[in-house]
């Protein structure tokens, strides 16, 4: 087991290295000059040259890369040209917002998709099942960014029910920062009112993510459940006279858990990749928006950092799943060692 984890970790590190190298060199062959951006408009060539030297942008690429890798080991992602702050500090600042959005959406998604899949799988081919299948099939075609804008149009622009963008109502003072997670901070401050306000801001971006994930996720979970229903042991159970509910909860769910988990893990990776879009549309101050805005002005370090952080997130989730599988599915136990 330890050897297995060690091997997995080694591959994870290799992957991180690959991503770091790839993004670093890709982002350094840019034709534009970051020093010129830093200097701002209407500055002399001498000022630009001085700034280039100050930021080490005049050194050869391999030297810059070595410096960068050296820093990575110490979790130093370099300095952002846009915010003039260490990227690591910025990440610490913006990561909780992204995580809060991701975790809340993901929890809602897991519950909703599981529940829908069970509803559909209980009577495959029935009215509920057909409706769910057709709806999810149509919903897979809706682009995330379009969905987000449509929700804004309806719930903010037309109905004035939910705030347009951001994490907390504009005119109100958010609770003091302890964790960076607004929901947690509101609870620490003992203010249910603040929890409420955070939830209202969270509603649209989370709904966008959830609806988008549900389209694909429900189809897959449903398929996994139905596949389990087709297995011989279900027939045996039926033969023993067990009712459909007992079969579902006692046998099928337990066995279907691991394929459903696989789907869910995959979905999480998918979500990490597209969270930028949701953050951009909803002005959600997370790492996705941070990296995108930096990208817009040719500030590379945050883009590379986002690549590394989201890859690390992906590796971590996979590792956790690898560890969970043997616990829920004895058949995998042999393979893992």
């Amino acid at each position: 087991m330890t050897a297995f984890i060690a091997r997995r970790l080694a591959w994870g590190v290799l992957l991180l290295l690959l991503v770091a190298t790839l993004t670093f060199f890709l982002s350094r062959v840019v034709p534009a000059d970051p020093a010129a951006f830093l200097a701002g408009q209407n500055t002399s060539a001498a000022t630009v040259a001085r700034i280039r030297a100050e930021y080490g942008l005049d050194r050869p690429l391999p030297v810059q890369f070595a410096t960068y890798l050296g820093g990575l080991v110490r979790l130093d992602f370099g300095e952002s040209l846009r915010t003039h702050r260490p990227v690591a500090d910025d990440l610490v600042q913006f990561l909780p917002a992204s995580l809060e959005l991701l975790i809340v959406s993901f929890m809602i998604y897991v519950i909703a998709s599981f529940w829908l899949a069970v509803a559909a799988a209980r009577r495959p081919g029935g009215a509920v099942d057909t409706a769910i299948r057709l709806l999810t099939m149509l919903a897979t075609g809706i682009p995330v960014f379009w969905l987000g804008m449509a929700l804004q149009f309806v719930f903010f622009y037309r109905l004035h029910w939910l705030p347009l963008a951001g994490r907390f109502p504009l005119r109100d003072t958010p609770p003091p920062v302890h964790t960076g997670f607004l929901l947690a901070d509101s609870l620490i401050a003992g203010s249910l009112d603040d929890v409420w306000k955070s939830l209202r801001c969270l509603a649209m971006p989370a709904l966008t993510i959830v609806l988008n994930l549900l389209a694909v996720g429900t189809r897959l979970s449903r398929a996994a459940l139905i596949a389990e229903f087709d297995r011989p042991y279900v027939r045996t159970a039926r033969g023993k006279g067990l009712g459909p509910r007992a079969i579902l909860y006692r046998h099928v769910l337990r066995n279907a858990l691991s394929p459903v988990l696989t789907v869910t893990t995959m979905q999480f990776g998918y979500m990490l990749s597209w969270v930028i879009l949701v953050e951009v549309i909803f002005g959600w101050p997370g790492i996705g928006l941070y990296a995108y805005q930096s990208f817009e002005v040719f500030d590379y370090a945050p883009v590379i950092a986002l690549a590394i952080v989201s890859t690390a997130g992906f590796v971590l989730i996979n590792l956790i799943m690898d560890l969970i599988y043997p616990l829920i599915d004895p058949r995998v136990r042999g393979l893992a060692t």
Binding site: W11, L14, L15, L18, V19, L22, T23, L26, S27, R28, V29, P31, G125, T130, R133, L134, M137, L138, T140, G141, I142, P143, V144, F145, W146, M149, F153, Y157, V216, R219, L220, R222, A223, A224, I226, A227, P259, V263, M266, Q267, G269, Y270, L272, S273, W274, I276, L277, V280, A291, Y292, F295, F298, Y300, V303, I304, L306, A307, S310, T311, F314
Partner: protein, 288 residues
């Protein structure tokens, strides 16, 4: 990527089994697909106006008889722009998936036909690519080689091929043990001709299903990148870019946002329906 996910569905969710609504849907989907093909290949025959030329007197006209989808800020006919856009949006999506499929087939076949150790290593590399965040890679690539549809093809193909590699390798491993392949091998047929004559022809069908479904996903990814400003450049009538360009006119011209979006949705859904239909017929031809 969601690409991998779809293969799970291929064998179990079948639209054809939903009875007549499913069959009607499938027929409608094929008709729309044919129309899209005409849009992409011969837009000048269908589009009523030039997609680039300006006619500012007619700017931001609401949908009407002369402009069924309305006009944009330059007075250009949105219907025409959307029709011409098929070539860019759908064309690029198809290109991505085909490039990814070609790489994936070669790689997957190589892995499937090689020794256990090599196969293991090759698949580990595939796993690595699965972990690369697509959008971030696209950002870095766009920063490096400039924005444009070619950048989009490159970055999405890089994250898309591993799915095909896995699929093809799995199929090859399965087919290797089939009696007709075993027989051919016993007769002394070489590895390469075994692969090309006796294995790959059988891989084509599942790959086809996968390609059809993936085109829809790729289309959404392409438009998303264009929406973020990484893909097509103005005044190319690419759908995602149209949606991006429409944002400043959101309050005054809803049609500008709605119709390009509808095109994306309809096209992606059509791909998903047809892919599903193909999966159904593939499964029945296998006798599964």
């Amino acid at each position: 990527m969601s690409g991998t996910a779809s293969s799970v569905t291929a064998h179990t969710t079948r639209l054809s089994s939903t009875g007549w609504p499913g069959r009607v849907l499938l027929i409608v989907a094929w008709i729309i697909a044919a129309a899209l093909a005409v849009f992409a290949l011969m837009p000048h025959l269908v589009a009523p106006y030039d997609p680039i030329f300006l006619d500012v007197v007619d700017r931001l006209r609401a949908p009407g008889l002369s402009h069924p989808f309305g006009t944009d800020e330059g007075g250009r006919d949105i219907l025409s722009r959307v029709i011409y856009g098929t070539r860019y949006s759908l064309g690029v999506a198809v290109a991505i998936v085909i490039v990814a499929a070609l790489i994936g087939i070669l790689y997957g076949a190589a892995a499937g036909m090689s020794s256990r150790r090599t196969d293991d290593l090759l698949m580990r590399i595939v796993d690595l690519f699965f972990g690369i965040p697509a959008l971030v890679l696209a950002l870095a690539l766009a920063a490096a080689i400039g924005r444009g549809l070619d950048t989009v093809v490159l970055s999405l193909a890089v994250v898309w091929w591993p799915g095909y590699a896995r699929l093809v390798r799995g199929e090859v491993l399965r087919l290797r043990e089939r009696p007709h392949v075993e027989a051919a091998r016993a007769l002394g047929v070489g590895t390469w001709s075994l692969l090309f004559r006796h294995i790959l022809p059988f891989v084509v069908q599942p790959v086809n299903v996968r390609i059809t479904t993936d085109i829809g996903y790729a289309l959404i990814a392409v438009t998303a990148l264009s929406f973020l400003g990484l893909g097509a450049e103005s005044p190319t009538p690419e759908w995602g870019l149209l949606i991006r360009d429409s944002r400043p006119y959101f309050g005054s011209a809803w049609w500008y946002l709605v119709f390009p979006g509808v095109m994306v949705m309809v096209t992606a859904t059509v791909c998903s329906i047809i892919g599903d239909g193909l999966a159904g017929s593939e499964a029945s031809s296998r006798g599964a």
